[in-house]
């Protein structure tokens, strides 16, 4: 929708991005509502009720977050097509599609971790993975009253969201910075070498994380096998 606004009506870029993001937020509100209604209705034999107040106060916050996401993705696409010098040949909706799929993949792999590992299963000891036996022990009672889906996801949204942003931001930045600094026509080799340097650095950083985790937490004390730590 942002593309339509820009080309057909010559609107300023930021305003078009905001309007397009608003449309995306409305779409996603409908999707979220229909998904909640549908899945709860399909679990009727397990006596799962549909709570309308959950719909009422989770949907606006979902839509707000979708607005922010769409606005940022559209802005990135606009910058890539209109403002950077080796300007991207793909049209804005295609670039937005690719970045949207990427954000979805990153959000699912990075943001999900803290949901289960920290807040939902509180019988898990810090320093080990989640035992399958504890999978059913979802914390349902809160400090006062019951927990609902927003309470469980509270820490994940506060922490997992910015982590997703960091992952996505790293990707977009490292990807585009190389071609902005090194002109792709004459210094293509330098841009590619820079990318390889980033990849190797990230590999080494993960190795360091693994080393540090092993040192800090140590082997599992109940381990009875014969392989040395």
């Amino acid at each position: 929708m942002a593309y339509v606004m820009i080309t057909a009506y010559g609107m300023p870029l930021i305003f078009a991005a905001a309007a397009g993001a608003a449309l995306a937020a409305l779409f996603d509100g409908v999707m979220a509502t229909s998904a909640y209604l549908g899945r709860s209705a399909s679990q009727a034999r397990f006596n799962q009720w549909i709570y309308l107040d959950i719909l009422r106060y989770t949907t606006p916050s979902i839509m707000a977050h979708v607005w922010i996401t769409s606005f940022c993705i559209v802005t990135v696409s606009i910058i890539q097509v209109y403002l950077l010098t080796p300007h991207h040949p793909f049209p804005i909706p295609v670039i937005a599609l690719v970045w949207g799929l990427t954000v979805g993949a990153i959000g699912s792999s990075v943001g999900d971790i803290h949901y289960g590992g920290e807040r939902e299963f509180q019988w898990r000891l810090f320093g080990q993975g989640l035992n399958t036996m504890l999978s059913g022990q979802i914390v349902r009672k809160a400090e006062a009253g019951l927990r609902n889906s927003i309470d469980n996801a509270w820490f994940c949204a506060k922490f997992g969201g910015p982590c997703t942003g960091m992952g996505f931001g790293l990707t977009v930045f490292l990807d585009n910075w190389r071609t902005a600094v090194f002109d792709p026509v004459t210094q293509a080799a330098a841009a590619i070498a820079m990318g390889l340097f980033f990849v190797i650095t990230m590999n080494c950083y993960n190795f360091y994380c693994e080393l540090s985790a092993r040192r800090k937490y140590g082997p599992y004390p109940g381990y009875k096998g014969d392989i040395a730590a």
């Binding site: 490292l174 980033f198 990230m202 140590g218």
Partner: protein, 234 residues
């Protein structure tokens, strides 16, 4: 329809690109929902979504490169590097959370010693889980998988633009072919895989054959599409 010797080269390029995408999906460490809860090794998302995210980012980078040069090697290299950066950034951010926030040492339950760092794995696998986090071998395997996906996507895109000279149309066409190969390969994996050290990895010949047939048909269709000057009829 003009068939020349280049058409055979284009056909082969698209087929090889599709095969690379299919096999690359097998290298990416995917754990599904259990991995997100620190119950299994790998990244906690679906195979297709991760492969699509990384491969299409590579396609984006390759598209940018293709607008300034026609030489195939920088385009393929840029595609690979773009995809690798996305996959590595995702895995690295996940590793930060696994190591420092959730608090679980990385371990894989499928091997006794990590093939690359020679660390021992079983003492660090918590009981009731099949590993946690992203050990170094999974990280490297994921990088290789992303590189193959990126090169594959760029390889599909390159001959398409040369055939019909329209980057937007070729991009969408390449995305379509990419998705078909990625989903076929992910069906072969049946949900989760840890990388090239996983015993499940030995199933890759099946994906090879499936992607070969599918990509061959798609490549044949792709080379038949040429720019049409005028059109009559309705």
């Amino acid at each position: 329809m003009n068939f020349g010797p280049e058409t055979i080269v284009y056909l082969l390029e698209i087929i090889v690109g599709g095969l690379l995408v299919g096999i690359g999906v097998h290298f990416v460490p995917v754990g599904g929902a259990p991995a997100a809860m620190a119950q299994a090794t790998g990244i906690g998302t679906g195979t297709v979504q991760l492969a699509a995210g990384s491969g299409l980012t590579g396609l984006l980078a390759a598209g940018l490169m293709m607008s300034v040069t026609d030489n195939i090697w920088p385009i393929l290299a840029t595609g690979a590097v773009g995809a690798m950066i996305m996959m590595d950034a995702t895995m690295l951010t996940g590793s930060w959370i696994y190591a420092y926030a959730v608090g679980a040492p990385f371990a894989s339950a499928k091997v006794n010693y990590d093939p690359i760092t020679k660390f021992s794995q079983p003492p660090y696998v918590a009981p009731g889980t099949v590993g946690q986090g992203i050990p170094t071998v999974c990280f490297v395997s994921g990088t290789i998988g992303a590189a193959m996906g990126g090169i594959g996507g760029a390889m599909i895109y390159y001959p398409l633009v040369l055939i019909n000279g329209n980057p937007a149309e070729s991009a969408i066409f390449a995305i379509g072919i990419f998705f078909v190969n990625a989903v076929l390969a992910s069906w072969n994996i049946q949900g989760t895989i840890e990388g090239f050290h996983d015993p499940k990895f030995k199933k890759w010949p099946k994906a090879f054959k499936s992607c070969l047939v599918a990509s061959a048909i798609l490549a044949l269709v792709a080379v038949l599409i040429i720019p049409v000057a005028t059109s009559g009829g309705v």
